[in-house]
Amino acid sequence: MSPRRTETGGLIDRLRTIRFTFDGAPYTGHAGDTLASALLANGVTLFGRSFKYHRPRGLLAAGVEEPNALVTVLRGEVREPNIPATMVEIYDGLVAVSQNRTPSLAWDISAVNQLGGKILSAGFYYKTFMGPVIGPLKGTRFWMFCEHFIRRSAGLGKAGTAPDPARYERMNAFCDVLVVGSGPAGLMAAKAAADQGARVILADLEAHFGGFANWSGETIDGMPAADWAQRTVGQLEGNDNVRLLPRTTVWGYYDGNTLAALERVTDHKEVAAKGEPRQRYWAIRAGTVVLATGSFERPLVFPGNDRPGVMLAHAAERYAVEYGVLPGQRVALFTNNDSAYRSAVALKKAGAAIIAVVDVRGEVSNEMRRLASDAEAELLAGHAVVATEGGKALTGLKVQRFDAMSGALSGDERSIHADSLLMSGGWSPTIHLASQAGAKAEWNPARQAFLPPKPTQRWIGAGAFTGSFSTAEAIAEGRAAGLQAAGGAASSAPLPVVEAAPGDPDPAPVFEIKAKGKSFVDFQHDVTAEDVRLAHREGFVSVEHLKRYTTLGMATDQGKNSNVPGLAIMAEALGKPIPEVGTTRFRPPYTAVSIGSLAAERFGDLKPERLTPMHDWHLANGARMYSAGLWYRPMIYGLAGETVEQAYVREARATRESAGIVDVSTLGKIAVQGPDAAELLDRVYTNMFSTLAVGKARYGLMLREDGLAFDDGTTWRLGEQEFLMTTTTANAGKVMQHLEYFLDVIWPELKVTVTSVTDEWAGAAIGGPNARAILASCVTGTPVDNATLPFMGIVRGRIAGVPVMICRLSFSGEMAFEVYSGAGYGTRVWEALIEAGKPFGLVTYGLEALGTMRIEKGHVTGAEIDGRTTARDLHLDWMLSKKKPFIGSAMMDREGLIGSDRLELVGVIALDNRALNGGGHIVEELDEANPHDSLGHITACCYSPALGKYIALALVKGGKARHGTRAFVSDPLRNRFGPIEIVSNHFYDPDGSRMHG
């Protein structure tokens, strides 16, 4: 038998023993235990070292708000730090380790920090690490010097570096009613809404539904509350309209009643089933939300309140009743309210000796006196705890007379021998989600708590969340909320009958006992009451500043315990009432959320990839692929031993000498159809399309509304009212959206349909002196001679028995054709072209050779149409029609866009016969040590097999005027400097004789 496990009781399965390790030592527990309850049952009192002072810390709470007992759970190489031991369900083989200690929990060398307590007070880092004004450690250098040591000593768990192989998923859910929290209020709400036929989701962050009912010891409808809860859950399980989500933390409440939740699907399992995600991120769109999130018990602030063995009263009660574990044998309680009396009785029942109930209130009701005597406890009304004793475990405490009105202590200190001190500083409703949803919390002086604001979104509160702390109220409010949320009428049917201990929900307004010693407000960040007062003395009066200066409430627990006590102490220092000090707004997430769950399925190779119809052919034929946006395109088809440059030079040269073929399926393609199709094109392109003959293509340029260049491409007229527009690969989506915008918003009268047909067509561009002969040998149904297929002409025919469209147009500068076929025939047509090209030495070429040939020709792409250049800058002003207005025509002639010092497109030749770099600057005078006065920059570069030189395109100030002049490239980042000549961007075949044939 474990030293602290009770003989009977609890919701654990005593027949199932589970083995796990903590800090390397083996332990056992039972199914239903958390790591916290199992270790407590084994007599472990020391769970962690505190953040700054490395003080020994034990369990403070039993639930999600636990600030001290943070552990790291190891799964193979993967470590997940900073999980409250109270939220870790044990399983066979669980490996957990404690944090922030060196070398071990019991012997932590940094515990000497406690001696320097005054030094490490609020603002310590800000003040200390400003650094001297001069010298080697001036300014922030001192901080950077010290940071290394500080990071090692202060802090929480260490994140792992091993890749996380677990699967995470996102789920989208819709419901009429989302109930958050499954205590009596939540269960009643879910039941009432489900009975109305509503679609209900019930989520609870704990493993078991029931909340308070699981450990209240109360009776509902004549049965133990825990049984009533299980019966209700059973009824919900049988309802098809209800989705039950245990282990699911609703952590964010967003606009439009959209909520985010994290389900821990397999964290409690030894092994996940195949395909089962570790965690699921639920995005829930709820008609109405019922917030039944309960409340948190607050610690009292007094010297030594952080010693292991000092625990929240309800937590001890919960360990005893739900897990069958006693936190101590000799228990004292310290309270400012009635709820601790119930805890005392419960612990007495579970087998502990209740030594004393220390109550700050001088007047204690007869009912509470009776409970104290039921617990056989000495009642010390009008007393306060002023000190605790012990090292890594509590051995005793000291009490003194206390006046709740003045806060004054009097009389002699009295020592009490105890191994467990349970405190209750009142209760704070868990209003986080309501606060996230919008409005500001409201202070209730009777409850001494912030109550939820009036809803700004569609939610209804129920139970302790609203400040109604009794189960009877929770049940009534829960049912009413569920009915209202489901659109049902209020019910007058009798409610389940509750038998519960009596108690006044209002505490005495006492938060702190001012006595000598460290009194902790924020346990996780080691913020003391004195830190708060120091911040006030130093002028931090706003609660937001207080928070940041002291880091109160900024630890992983986000101040679930410390918020209200911290505010109360600040308010007292300011001499203002608490509501005037205000509270900070809670923001998502409510608890820590794994990044994995947010990334969900968009991880690793599950990023979508766009593949052309010939993708597999490219892979099978030696292509090295290149990712261009989401597309994958061949970069080169390298031969054995070839470098990238050798490969693309070979491919480009062979194309210019005989023929080459490239996959151009990624080009954006938009079907523009309808009676007004030509009119639309006249408006969006700078040049005319209404005059284009059917069966012809034209190169077009689009501007943005502000007159800058937007995109270019050829558009084919396939019919009187039907065009096939092509765009650059990168801008396909943007151009589509541009057209849709104008059709929907600006020109709704135009009858035009635009449809993305990028994926409908496979495209192969075949170019070179032999391209026409290759086509002629494989195309049936149409001649491809100059008369039938002139430059920019289109014919329809067949290749390999399937229909194709062929347009004679050229990007490479050679006699070239684009062959389009249905995407499902793409590989078939491609292979037929390759086969037909064999006698001609046809090469496949990739993006590198494509880019090389376009640079040689001086064609622009997205590198030059970069959102800053105009048509004139790119020497495309010949395309600007003067006969019609078009998008951008009114703005393109603004002063700044026509100046003579604009960056213009030029060609650049490296005079030192070395490769140039994209992004390298062009300068008039070379000064390697102090580069300055950029004239412009290189946008694209290559080795040109046609010229036998390293060339580039560049945007250079007053470009055209500089043709024939010399300058320098200056690229200090890559240490590339050297002489260049500025030339026309049309390096190769400037009169186009090759492509016109």
Binding site: Y254, G256, A283, R285, Q737, D744, V745, M891
Partner: protein, 92 residues
């Protein structure tokens, strides 16, 4: 945030693309009034409160919508097809 598309119903904001201030008025295509063009291209109201906006249901039916959104609360006060004409049912 949810936006109710008149065709598709309420959808998550991730399906939509903001397409700019809905108060802009485009001058006549042939207009040479540079001030008017400047105002159209660059001037924005940026109000604290209700704002007329254009959103495209780019991840859905792709229709552009006129949306009135409160910039302080993110409340969507109304949505309608920018082009008019089609009724929500997709037919007349």
């Amino acid at each position: 945030m949810l936006i109710t598309c008149p065709y598709c119903g309420p959808r998550d904001v991730i399906e939509f693309t903001y397409q700019g201030d809905g108060n802009r008025e485009r001058p006549q295509p042939a207009s040479q009034d540079l001030d008017a063009w400047n105002a159209y291209v660059y001037d924005r109201l940026n109000p604290a409160g209700d704002h007329n906006e254009i959103w495209q249901h780019s991840g859905g039916c792709r229709a552009h919508l006129r949306v009135v959104r409160n910039t302080l609360t993110h409340d969507i006060l109304s949505t309608a097809f920018a082009r008019g004409g089609h009724k929500a049912e997709g037919r007349s």
